[in-house]
């Protein structure tokens, strides 16, 4: 019973492995782009594609029963709510700091000069 769906031909792992290398290269390449909505969406796109591949193929979630899929993949959706709330809170705190303490006077060094 346990081995059900776990003895796949090796081909799928090689494909997934190659795909992860390509996607990671793309992820790294976004670091050379200018900041903006395009770069942010590409970071998220490559991140989700890699995460999906790891969970679905390497962790075999694609072959598990729907009861297990929902029990494990369902609850993390709640994290999206936390992200939303904390981002609102974060902007509120930043506004308050700017209003009451003024903008930053920090003059940071550039890294890498020693």
């Amino acid at each position: 019973m346990a081995a059900e769906g776990t003895q796949h031909p090796l081909k799928i792992y090689w494909i997934m492995w190659g795909a992860l290398f390509v996607l990671s290269t793309f992820s790294y390449a976004t670091d050379f782009m200018d900041d903006g909505a395009l770069r942010t969406s590409l970071i998220l796109l490559f991140m989700l594609a890699k995460a999906g591949g790891i969970v679905w193929i390497f962790m075999h979630m694609g072959w598990e029963r729907i009861a297990l899929k929902l029990a494990i993949l369902g609850p993390p959706v709640a994290i999206l709510v936390l992200i939303g709330l904390m981002s609102l809170e974060g902007h509120y705190v930043e506004d308050n700091r700017l209003q009451h303490y003024g903008g930053s006077t920090m003059e940071p060094q550039t890294p890498g000069h020693h």
Partner: protein
């Protein structure tokens, strides 16, 4: 719902499968308990790492000081030029490679090829140890440049606390994984599981943990290093 379906472990189509699994008065998930428990542990770990990353997001949004540019902070000198995120990119590829060897080890485990399983798991652990070594180098470099959990010369003080907390907790997971993999690998080799019915499910369970560590790195790489 038919008894035959339950006994064979086959899954009914669609939503019916969910209802049947939860209502049949025995184990729900139809997987060995160790695997179900590992998944539930990983779910709880997901929440821990999410809290760290959300905390990092919150302090980064709310600080009025400029955030240090990770692209410059983590640049390394190579071929006479500073290459952004060089070491981090190499670490990413090392971890992905280790995920690949782990996936092959799980497959070889189910084929009961003990020798290949052992060596693939040792290779996975070695790549994991390499990753931790490079992380130690990264930490040393940053500490020598004056990055501390309470401040740094490059910008917002929260950068250091987020960095040490998130990568430290992840590095701890990788280190624990290396030990876990080596224990299982040597047990595979010395026939420990042969005495327990020759069941190599444990290789897949260890593999789940290892892939999860790689999975967390995907998110850390995107949110901490690239964002």
């Amino acid at each position: 719902m038919s008894e035959a379906v339950l006994d064979s472990g086959a899954e009914a189509p669609g939503k019916q499968a969910l209802v049947e699994d939860w209502s049949r008065d025995k184990q729900v998930f139809g997987v060995p308990w160790g695997k179900a428990m590992m998944w539930i542990f990983l779910l709880s770990d997901t929440f821990i790492f999410s809290c760290f990353l959300v905390g990092y997001m919150m302090v980064r949004i709310s600080t009025t000081d400029p955030w240090p540019n990770p692209s410059e902070v983590f640049a390394l000198e190579a071929f006479g030029y500073p290459v952004p995120l060089l070491l981090i990119a190499i670490m990413t590829f090392v971890l992905i490679t280790s995920s690949g060897t782990m996936a092959l080890a799980v497959n070889m485990g189910y084929r009961k090829d003990r020798k290949k399983t052992f060596w693939l798991m040792v290779a996975t652990a070695a790549l994991g140890a390499t990753f931790v070594g490079m992380q130690a180098f990264e930490w040393t470099k940053l500490i020598m440049e004056g990055v501390r959990p309470w401040g740094n010369p490059f910008g917002a003080a929260q950068f250091g606390s987020s960095f040490f907390m998130i990568t430290g907790f992840h590095g701890m997971h990788v280190s624990a994984g290396v030990i876990y993999l080596l224990v299982v690998a040597f047990r595979v080799r010395n026939g420990f599981y042969e005495k327990r019915g020759g069941n190599y499910e444990i290789v897949e369970i260890a593999g789940l943990y290892w892939h999860f560590v790689d999975l967390v790195w995907v998110f850390i790489f995107a949110f901490f290093y690239l964002w």
